[in-house]
Symmetry: D2
Amino acid sequence: MIVVLRPGLKQDEIQKVVQRIEGFGLRAHISEGKERTIIGAIGDERLLADQSLESFPGVEKVLPILKPYKLVSREFQKANTIINVNGQKIGGKKIHVMAGPCSVESREQVLESAIPVKEAGATFLRGGAFKPRTSPYSFQGLGEEGLGHLARAREITGLPIITEVLDPRDLEVVCEYSDILQVGARNMQNFKLLTEVGKLDKPVMLKRGMSATIQEFLLSAEYIATEGNRKIILCERGIRTYEVETRNTLDLSAVPVLKQLTHLPVFVDPSHGTGRWDLVAPMALAGIAAGADGLLIEVHSHPELALSDGPQSLKPEKFAAMMQELKRVAEAVGREL
Amino acid sequence: MIVVLRPGLKQDEIQKVVQRIEGFGLRAHISEGKERTIIGAIGDERLLADQSLESFPGVEKVLPILKPYKLVSREFQKANTIINVNGQKIGGKKIHVMAGPCSVESREQVLESAIPVKEAGATFLRGGAFKPRTSPYSFQGLGEEGLGHLARAREITGLPIITEVLDPRDLEVVCEYSDILQVGARNMQNFKLLTEVGKLDKPVMLKRGMSATIQEFLLSAEYIATEGNRKIILCERGIRTYEVETRNTLDLSAVPVLKQLTHLPVFVDPSHGTGRWDLVAPMALAGIAAGADGLLIEVHSHPELALSDGPQSLKPEKFAAMMQELKRVAEAVGREL
Amino acid sequence: MIVVLRPGLKQDEIQKVVQRIEGFGLRAHISEGKERTIIGAIGDERLLADQSLESFPGVEKVLPILKPYKLVSREFQKANTIINVNGQKIGGKKIHVMAGPCSVESREQVLESAIPVKEAGATFLRGGAFKPRTSPYSFQGLGEEGLGHLARAREITGLPIITEVLDPRDLEVVCEYSDILQVGARNMQNFKLLTEVGKLDKPVMLKRGMSATIQEFLLSAEYIATEGNRKIILCERGIRTYEVETRNTLDLSAVPVLKQLTHLPVFVDPSHGTGRWDLVAPMALAGIAAGADGLLIEVHSHPELALSDGPQSLKPEKFAAMMQELKRVAEAVGREL
Amino acid sequence: MIVVLRPGLKQDEIQKVVQRIEGFGLRAHISEGKERTIIGAIGDERLLADQSLESFPGVEKVLPILKPYKLVSREFQKANTIINVNGQKIGGKKIHVMAGPCSVESREQVLESAIPVKEAGATFLRGGAFKPRTSPYSFQGLGEEGLGHLARAREITGLPIITEVLDPRDLEVVCEYSDILQVGARNMQNFKLLTEVGKLDKPVMLKRGMSATIQEFLLSAEYIATEGNRKIILCERGIRTYEVETRNTLDLSAVPVLKQLTHLPVFVDPSHGTGRWDLVAPMALAGIAAGADGLLIEVHSHPELALSDGPQSLKPEKFAAMMQELKRVAEAVGREL
C-alpha cells in the first residue's frame, strides 16, 4: 500500500502516519520526491484495508498494491479448480452447457425443455423456482412445487439441476433438490446469503452483479470461500451500461480477465447478457472463443407464452442448432463440448 | 401498451397477436402505418407486463405507455405522504437531517457523534450495527450489541434511531431497537427482505441501488407498499458511473424526478453519494436546493480511526458549520431546518 | 411515432396536437385508452424527429416507431455491402485483419511491424500519423512525414494502408497516401469531418464513440452516406463503463446487433477495446465468433518502447500465433481468413 | 510514479526497469515488500506519461502520483481565474447566467428570448448558429446568418454573446461576432480545434464531454492553456449513464471537485444536463448551491415550435421566476446574482 502525502507536510505529521501504519504491524518506508512524499506500507496490506488512512490528516490518497482477495486468487492456487458434480467435471477441458427454462411453470413445461436440451448435448438442467422479479406484480415462481418438477425432470433425463436461492431461510429446501445452487446477480452482495452458502458442501454458481466490478465479484466469491466452500463457479451475465439495444452489455473481456485472476471456473450467460434470443447464439460462440468453461442458456418450448424472459429464450430447435456450432468453435480453441 | 409489428406480416399472424392481447381482457386497436402496423393494447397493461409479447412471432417491439408501479405513484395519491416518527414529521415543510457514524463501534463512539449532531440540529441518529461490507475481511458490525449502544444514545439525546437491516432473520431484533428501518443500496432488490419489511408497521428508508433506474427504485418501493407498509422514505445515494474522482455519482436530478413521480418523501445521502467528506457539505446544500426532504450524513468524531467509511465522515464541528449553511439554503427555497 | 397525452386533456388541446402532426403531412390517428389517450402519427416520422412535440402542452412523451437512419439500414438495402479496396473485398466471406503500430514513429519501426504482419496473414497495414492524444504533453504523431513512412511500407509489403484523419484541413494529404480513411472514436460526432469524408470516393472506417449508442453510431454513418460515400466500415472499439480492469468494455454484442440493423461491414478493435495486449487474442477470437467481418490490431516490435499504446500492442510473434487460432475459429463459423 | 513489479523478478530484470526510468532523468527508488517489489520514479513523472512502462517485461502496473495537467491546476495557480468579458467578471462573487435559445432560428426568435432574459437578469446571450446534430436530417443551424441575428440582439440588449464553434475553418467568422467561444461536449476531445482556440485571445467555454472523466476534461483545458489562452470557463453539462428518465445525468459533484482541482471558473448547464424543462430550475438552484460560478440556460419563447431542444427550453416567464429563486439561493451561499 502506497500512502501519498499532501505537499508541505511537517515532519511530526509524517511521523503520525508512520506510527499509524506501524501500529498494524507493517513497516513504513518513506520516499521523498520532488513534489510529493510517499510512504510504502510493507506487509499484509489487507490488515489496513479497513483502516481509514485516507482520512488521516495530511494523507492525499492511498494506492493499494495487492489484490484484496486471497483464497480465490490465482496467486493462492495456480491450478484450475475442477468441480465434480455427479461425475461431470466443471472447469476442465470439457465445456458444459446448462440449459432450461427461466422459470419453472409446470411439470410439462420443464420436460418440454429438459428432454430436447439433453438430446442436444446440455449436461445440466437450469430452471428457477424462486424468482427475483423487478415488479411485485410479476410471476414470483412456484417455490418448492417448482423444485419438485425439476427433480422429476432430473429423474427422467439424468441431468443434474442448477437452481437459484434467494433467501437464507430457503437454503435447506433448495439444497434438498438441487445439485448446484445459484446465487443471482441481484444477490451478489447479499453477504448473509453468501456466508450461509459458504458453510455448505454444495457447488455454487455466483453470478456477477449488474454493476459489480470484477474485483467486487471476486470479493463476493471470497465471502463464500472463507466459510469453507471452495466449489464456486463464476458467471458473467452482462453489466449495466447506457446501451439500450441489449438488456445488458455482456462483458466478455471479463472471461480472460477472470481466468488470469482466479482459479475458479468461469461461465457466460448470453441469455441475460443480451436479453434477446437472436443474440444468444453469436454471444455463446463468442463466450467460448473468449475462453469460458461453460454456458447458461434459457430454453423454452413456447417463448411467447413464457411467464418470464420469453424474449431471451431459445426454442429447442434453435438451441440444438447452436450446439452444433458451439462444438466446432470449442474444438477450434482446443476444448470439447 | 403499443405493440409494433414487423413489416410484411400476414393478416392471420396479426390476428394471433390480437387474440393474445384480448385473452388478457384488453382491447386491441390496430393502426396501419406506411412502414409499420401497430396495435394499441387498451386497458390495464400491467396485466401484460409479464407476458412475453416481445417474443411473439411477428412482434418487433413493445412500448409501454403506463408506469408499472401504482401505489407509490403520484397519480395514485396526489398529496405528499407525511410520515410521523415519534412526533417528527417527515415529508413536510421541515427538512430532517439524520446523522451519526457509519458503523457503531462502541458506546462512547456513538455518543461522541450523537450528542454534537443533536446540538447542531439533527433530528435522527443514524448508525450501522449490521454492516454490508464488500470484503469478508472488513469489520462486519457489532450486531445486537451495536443496537444496544444506539438505544442508549437515544435515551441520552432523545434522537430516534435509523439503522440498517440486512437479513429477514434479523428483522425482529432490529425492529425492537430502531425507529426507522434502513434497507441499503445492495438490498434494494432483495425482494424477500422488501416483502418482510412491507408486512411491518414501521417506517422504512429504502436506498437506491447502485445501478438501479428510477423505475426499478419505485418498483422496489411498490414491493413494500403492496404488502401494506406505506411509510416509505426514498433515498438517493449515488449511482455507479465511470467517474473515479468520486466513489459514486450523486444523481441529484433524481430528486425532482422522484418528487414528480411519487408522493413519498425523498432524501439524499451525500456521504455515500460522493465518498469524500470534503464534498459532503456542497452536495448536501445542492440536495436541499434540488428539493430533497432530508439528508443522511455520516459523522465521526475521529474519521481517521473509523472502522468504516472514514474518508466520507464529517467531524462534528464541520457538521455543525454545514447545518448553519443548510438552514440558509432551506429558507431560500421555502423550507425550514 | 406515438404521442402519449397527459391524462385529463381537453378536446381542443388534443386537436392542437393533431393539427401540429398534420401540419407536417402526417396522418394523426387517435386512440383513447382507459388511462391515457395516444395519437399515432402515420407517415415518415423522420419529418417530425426535430419537431419538439415533447414540449407541446399536454404531451407526456413521444415514442418513435421507426429507425431514424435510412441509407445505412438493412431495411433500405438487404444485401451486405462489399467494399473493394485494391482487390481486397471487405464484407464478404473473407475476414480481414488490419494490423500495425498505434503510432508511426519511424520508417524502420513501421517496417518492423509491417513485414511480419503481412507474413502472418494481415491484409491491411494500420498506423497513425495524426494522433488524437488525451494529453497535450503526449506524442502527437509525425504528421505527413509519418504518412510517407506508411507509403514506403506499402511499397515494400503490398499492404494497403488505413490511417486516421482528425481535421477536415488534413483530408487532402491523408487521402493522397491512404487507402482507407479512419475516423476515430473521438471524432464519431465531429459532424463537419463526417460531412467532408462523405463527399469523397474513398473507403472510410468509422469507429464507435466511447459512449455512443448503436443508434448514434449508425446516424453518424448516415451522415457520411447522405453525402454520397457508401463505402463505410463500422468498428466496435469498446465503450466506457465503470469497470477498471480493462481500458474500455468491448461490446461484442454490438456485432450481431449491427449485422441485423445495417448492411455495412462490421469490424472489432480488441486492442483499444481492452487496452491490454494479453486480452487481445481471446477478444479477437470472440469477435470473429460473434460475426465480425474483420479486426483492427495493434502490433509493435518493441511495445515497451512504443510512443503510444504500448500496453495494448502485440509483439509480431504473438500476433502470428493469434492468426493461427483465428484461422481455426473463422473456419468453425463458416468464414475464412 | 510507482512501478509495481511482478513477483519473482530477477535482479537484472529489475535493473532494466531502473535504467529505463533513469534514462528519462528521474531517480528510481526501490522498495522491497513481502509480496511485491516496487520502484518509485522520482521527478517530473509527466516525462514518463507516454512511455509504455506498463508493457515493460516484469512490470505489473504503474500508479501515477501526480496530476497529468499543470497550467490549469490549483497547485499551479492558487487564486481563482477571473475572466473579464466586456466588463462582466466571470469567476468572482457574482454568478452569471447565460441564457437564450438552443438554435438561432430567426432575428425575431432571438429577440423574443434575448429581451426577456436580459430583463430577468441574465448577463450573456447564448444561441447556436453552427449546430452539432446527432442526425443528418436535423436542422443544422443558420451559420453566419445566425451569427448576424445574435449580433443584432447584442446591439439591442447590450448582452455579450456566447456561441459554439464546431470547425477550425469557422473560427474566424465565429470570433468576429462572438464574445465567448463555446466548444461543445462532442468536441471536448477535438484536439485540433482546442489547439486553434488556444491560440486566440478570446474567452472560451469548454463543455465536458458526454463520457469524459474530470481528469480528461482538465487535460482538454490544458490543451487550450498550453497554446497561450488562459481565459477558459469549464461547464458541466451532464454525463451519460444508464438512467433514462433524464437525457443525461447532471454530475453536480463535479462542481466542488473542479473548484478544488482548478482555478478556472465552473459553470453548470441544467438544460442539457437533464433534457427536461421541468427539471431545469431545481438543478440550476442545486448547481449554485454546489458552488458553480454560473449557469447556461436554454430559453425559447415557443418551445413547442423550437427547431432543436424544445423539451429542455424554458419559457421566458418560467426563466424569470427561476431567476428570483436563484437570487435567494445565491445569497444563502454568499454569492450574488
